[in-house]
Amino acid sequence: MSARIGVVVFPGSNCEHDSIEAVRSLGGDAELLWHGDDSVGQVDGIIVPGGFAHGDYLRPGAIARFSPVMGAVQRFAADGGPVVGICNGFQVLTEAGLLPGALQKNAGLKFLCKMATLRVETTNSSLTASATRGQELRIPINHFEGNYTCDKDTLAELQAEDRIVVRYVDNPNGSVDDIAGVCNEGRNVVGLMPHPERATHDLLGSTDGIPMLRSLLDVAAGVAV
């Protein structure tokens, strides 16, 4: 049985179709979930995609967390369902309190749009269950506010609990401890700034996003945990 992935669309999201295409190219089913609905339907996994939800007004993700769909996403996550936030989706999940920390402006104040190399630090997450620990993946980044930060206690907790999912090999944005992505305590909610959905075909310059999206599909289908 192939997993069904719901991709949340806020006004200003712009990576939802890339995400759907990527999921379908791996044999999964995908559907759009409108931010104004207070349900996520019968999906097995959720992607909160990149873009500029609600124009990034106030702060990236600050308004999106009040969208009706976020209550349903919270409940889905609380029940253990896999949720992956990519780029702006990561910002939305931190603002919604589903993930710790925050994303501040890149050190250097430059919008970064380039390929980055990530190292998989744990396979115990819904984004890396089918990847290999230590594996290096070439995944594009495309952000201005991707500089991950959190207080010292939170960082110590993330390190001690093996919740830093991926790190940058060559830190592009100033993120603390080279963090590119983290997960929640339940390990089912993951956020990362890089875009695995944009690295799923040779034509896109890299296929290294496939192990990540395969992980999401496997966890959503109950094949991997």
């Binding site: 402006k105 500089n147 930060t149």
Partner: protein, 90 residues
């Protein structure tokens, strides 16, 4: 009563402020030497109807903590003053 409110948000101490740092680095080119600690924030203004100034301030504190700032990376300063025609409804 009606109160004029100004909320100023800015990156917390210790949080990098690349915008402020970039402005600061450009100052010597214009001959402004000796200016340090440039921090860039945001100013949000609105009015609040409340029984007392304390009540208005309590409401704005809550609003800041839950929405206007992200406490992980931002601080805020709140200024509350009685509006000029506070007794008049809007």
């Amino acid at each position: 009563m009606r109160f004029d409110v100004q909320v100023e948000t800015r990156p917390r101490a210790g949080i990098a402020d690349p915008e402020g740092a970039t402005i600061e680095r450009s100052l010597p080119a214009l001959g402004f030497d000796g200016i340090q600690g440039v921090r860039v924030g945001k100013s949000i203004r609105f009015t609040v109807d409340a029984a007392t100034e304390d009540a208005a301030r309590a409401e704005v504190d809550d609003l800041c903590a839950r929405f206007l700032t992200n406490p992980v990376i931002e601080d805020s300063t709140i200024t509350v003053v009685e509006a000029a025609d506070a007794s008049q409804p809007a």
